[in-house]
Amino acid sequence: MNGWPILSLVVFTPLIGVLAILFVPSRNHRLIRGLALMAALASLVFSLRLLGYQPDGAEFQYREDISWIAAFGMRYTLGVDGLSVVLVLLTTVLSVVSIFYSFDPIQTRVKEYYATMLLLMVGMLGVFVSLDLFLFYVFWELSLIPMYLVIGIWGGPRRIYATVKFVIYTLVGSLLMLVAILAVAIAHASAGNPFTFSYETLRGFAYTDALQALAFVAFFLAFAIKVPMWPFHTWLPDAHVEAPTAGSIILAGVLLKLGGYGFLRYSLPLAPDAAVAFAPIVIGLAVVAILYGAMVSMVQPDLKKLIAYSSVSHMGFVMLGVFVFNTQGLQGAVFQMISHGVTTGALFLLVGVIYERTHDRQIAHMGGLNAKLPRYAAIFGLFTFASIGLPGLSGFIGEFLVLLGAFQYSGWVAAATMLVVIISAVYMLWMFQRVFFAVPSDWMRRFWPTLTDMTRNEWLALAPLILLVVGLGVLPGPVLDAISPSVQRILDAVNASPGLTSFNLPW
């Protein structure tokens, strides 16, 4: 298939699905579901072609480059490096899983639902493959609106509050980022260069300290809100609790990664000096996020909220790994993103499984499920351990690498972070114990006669995630091989930046 615009196919196949769905009568649920799944699967199949990515080849492969808005030098430039490849694959897999899983739970406004989910897929995939800052921004915003609708239409009782909060938070960050993107492009153009938004051109330019600092802060806000980083995380628990299951899977699995990806792809290469200068602050915030997320998780009465706060903690690891600026840290951060996507996606799906049966997520309302639903308990257990970071499962690799990186940066930071490995075992195992082993609550007993173990569809939806969580844990090599040249390039670019030692803050 050489010469095919693979990346465009990956990104826009879901859009073709949207157009097809629009022409199907809204009562024909079967056809709509089938079309949506086919479009997502087609995108997944195309994205598998990216497995042919050569880690030791050119930096960006499968490139496409067409002029778009010539007046400002905006181009439709796509391309992937190892970092993008793994995140694209994560996105296509999780999208297929969440679309397939939605077949039973989503029974209202089916047509709009699948159209929205596919549109969301376009936006997310576009972010990961864009090599033009303007194009990136367009996709970035494009991923926002569908999620807004998914939470707002198919969410829980407080969905409107949650979704508006989510949108406003994200918009504030991203609009400031737009100003920063323009400032960077204009600074480059003012030096006598042609106006361009090309990532590969702009990243090599030596921006002034003041611009770097301001651009870094703007990018930081956009990405830190998305990650979300303490103290910008408050939208996340609300959004997760109200979102439908598939929305939570995508939100935790992919949307949060947009933030981490943004740091690696844009913040560090565009403002390397500022990134290094601000690193101690960011690391401080990351450590707080790791600890805070874990401690708050312990006291959550709601399963989804617990997992949401644990995401704050896990994504803190990603931030820590990025900003310690060494190979292990960066590799760990990327691996942690993938692992967190798979694990947390699966956990949200599993919470959805019990929610579909009891319409309740209160931990206190559960209990004794191990006896009644042994298969469910086993799978839940698997992902609980993956979340804690048990060796042999994917969670371990990422956290371990990040901790290695953190040790090289500072023993104290690593020591503080190590604590969390214990706390995370506490909140996850305690939760597991209360849900599966404790005496069943009266509430749960009412459902006893009708409670059924996992259905075939639920198994099918989970199967790829089970394979991934075990596979990545046992055999992390291929992923690390794919990402290491890419992260090494980012790291080298930062270390080689000429202004690193002489950086002065503008204030």
Partner: protein, 484 residues
């Protein structure tokens, strides 16, 4: 006057002829044939658009220096024609439901367009003032077009009183200017600041107040919500974009052509007005529960964004960067014109029953009742918010580029934060349309082919201009270059 003068004003002549045709035909049409006036107006405006094309690139000053047909004016005229066509398409059904006369509407609308043409081409303060009055007098009539409706009367009267007040201030400023510089030529009043001293400042202040009053900038915006709310809804759409376009033509002429040449420092005033206007408009819009009123206040916020383009123009020193400020103004005015008139018209479509009001509740559950209409409105609202890939996004981007490039990045940050603020109330309508159940007795919807067609082309334009703005930009650049 010679033949050259007449070729240069071919668009104006064509438009005047069109008014006379519509006026005459209206007299001879039977009541049930009145609908013919709409195609006549639209096709006629098509010819006017073609006439604009013939003077593109002419760049001549005619009528002994009173009138200037440059590419900038041609761009304004083309944008005026686009807005005129949309207004002529959106309004008839709404008027028919209320038994309001279509012929009079078309005639008054076209007269207002002539005013905008004259305004755009003025190179003298006298012509400028005549053009302005020719534009706003019909606008007052349009605001009060619903004769039997109290609110329309109130709106029209307020618009008229405050509008005349502003005109008077502007005129007073013009007379001071004449007194100080002994000229009304825009190209010769540049010395107002350098030589006028304190009196010059007073003159400039009056010119500023008068013209920003017309553009509805804070703190001169108080007439806007009432005038907009009272007018028949699609007409409000026109009032919110047409006279605004005219007001910006006025501002560009006075400040760009006139005071800009002298390098007078009016950047500070414009920047502060821009900041006040966008923030003030947005904050008040947040509190509105009536969509029509919300759109009225939000139109004030958009004025603020456009003023930021002018501030960038004023602050920049490099001609290319200066031109970018004007380009941003032009692009924003056009893009805003299309999306705002369409958004108002959707509100109008929900008022098929004349007793119903354009409240938020009318939008509740619209996605279930009329999915296509709701989707169209959603796209328009996203465009007004500034989400890609829409024209509203690219317009904001243009202003941001202009401000950052001109070295007023703080204004760009203010725009970004304001856009996030505006998202709150624009998205609230989407919340109602998509995330709430319809009210018990939902308002009937105008599903007429005419309005739907107009909405379809507006939405298509909003998306097309947002995705592929390149062709327009090349026109913009040539237009802005003709000013400098």
């Amino acid at each position: 006057m010679n033949a050259d003068d007449l070729t240069a004003i071919l668009p104006e002549l064509a438009l005047t002829a069109l008014v006379l045709v519509v006026l005459t035909v209206d007299l001879f049409l039977r009541r049930e044939d009145k609908w013919l006036l709409t195609p006549i107006t639209v096709i006629g405006l098509g010819f006017v658009g073609y006439a604009c094309w013939t003077v593109w690139g002419l760049n001549q000053t005619v009528f002994a220096g009173f009138y200037r047909v440059d590419d900038l004016s041609v761009f304004f005229k083309v944008a005026t024609v686009v807005i005129g066509v949309l207004a002529a398409l959106f309004t008839p059904i709404y008027l028919a439901q209320r038994r309001l006369p279509l012929g009079e509407f078309n005639v008054i609308l076209l007269f207002s367009l002539i005013g905008m043409f004259v305004l755009a081409s003025s190179s003298d303060l006298i012509t400028l003032f005549i053009g302005l009055e020719l534009m706003v007098m019909p606008a007052y009539l349009l605001a009060g077009f619903h004769k039997t409706d109290r609110y329309s009367n109130e709106g029209g009267l307020k618009y008229f009183l405050l509008g005349s007040f502003a005109s008077a201030i502007l005129l007073f400023g013009i007379s001071w200017t004449y007194g100080l510089t002994h000229s009304t030529r825009l190209s010769e009043i540049g010395g107002l600041v350098s030589e006028g001293g304190a009196a010059g400042l007073i003159a400039i202040a009056m010119l500023t107040v008068g013209s920003t009053f017309k553009a509805a900038a804070v703190p001169f915006h108080f007439w806007t919500p009432d005038a907009y709310q009272g007018a028949p809804t699609p007409i409000t759409g026109f009032l919110s974009v047409g006279p605004k376009l005219g007001a910006f033509a006025l501002l560009v002429r006075i400040f760009g052509d006139g005071l800009g040449v002298s390098g007078a420092d009016w950047y500070g005033v414009m920047a502060v007005l821009a900041l006040l206007t966008m923030t003030g408009g947005n904050i008040v819009a947040l509190a509105q529960t009536n969509v029509k009123r919300m759109l009225a206040y939000s139109s004030i916020a958009h004025t603020g964004y456009i003023l930021a383009g002018l501030a960038a123009f004023a602050h920049a020193t490099d001609p290319a960067v200066k031109a970018q400020g004007i380009e941003a103004v032009l692009f924003y005015v056009l893009g805003y014109g299309v999306m705002n008139i369409a958004a108002f018209s959707v509100v109008g479509m929900l008022q098929r029953d004349p007793r119903r009001f354009g409240g938020l509740s009318a939008f509740a559950g619209l996605a279930g009742r009329a999915p296509v209409l709701a989707a169209a409105m959603a796209i328009l609202l996203l465009s007004l918010t500034g989400i890609p890939p829409t024209v509203g996004f690219f317009a904001k981007l243009y202003v941001l580029v202009a401000t950052v490039d001109a070295g007023v990045a703080w204004l760009a940050v203010a725009i970004a934060l304001n856009a996030a603020l505006a998202a709150f109330y624009y998205l609230r309508v989407i919340v109602y349309m998509y995330m709430r159940e319809p009210e018990e007795d939902p308002a009937p919807i105008d599903r007429s082919p005419l309005t739907t067609f107009a909405l379809a082309i507006s939405v298509a334009g909003v998306l097309a201009l947002g995705l592929f703005p390149d062709p327009i930009i090349s026109f913009l650049r040539q237009s802005a270059a003709s000013l400098l």
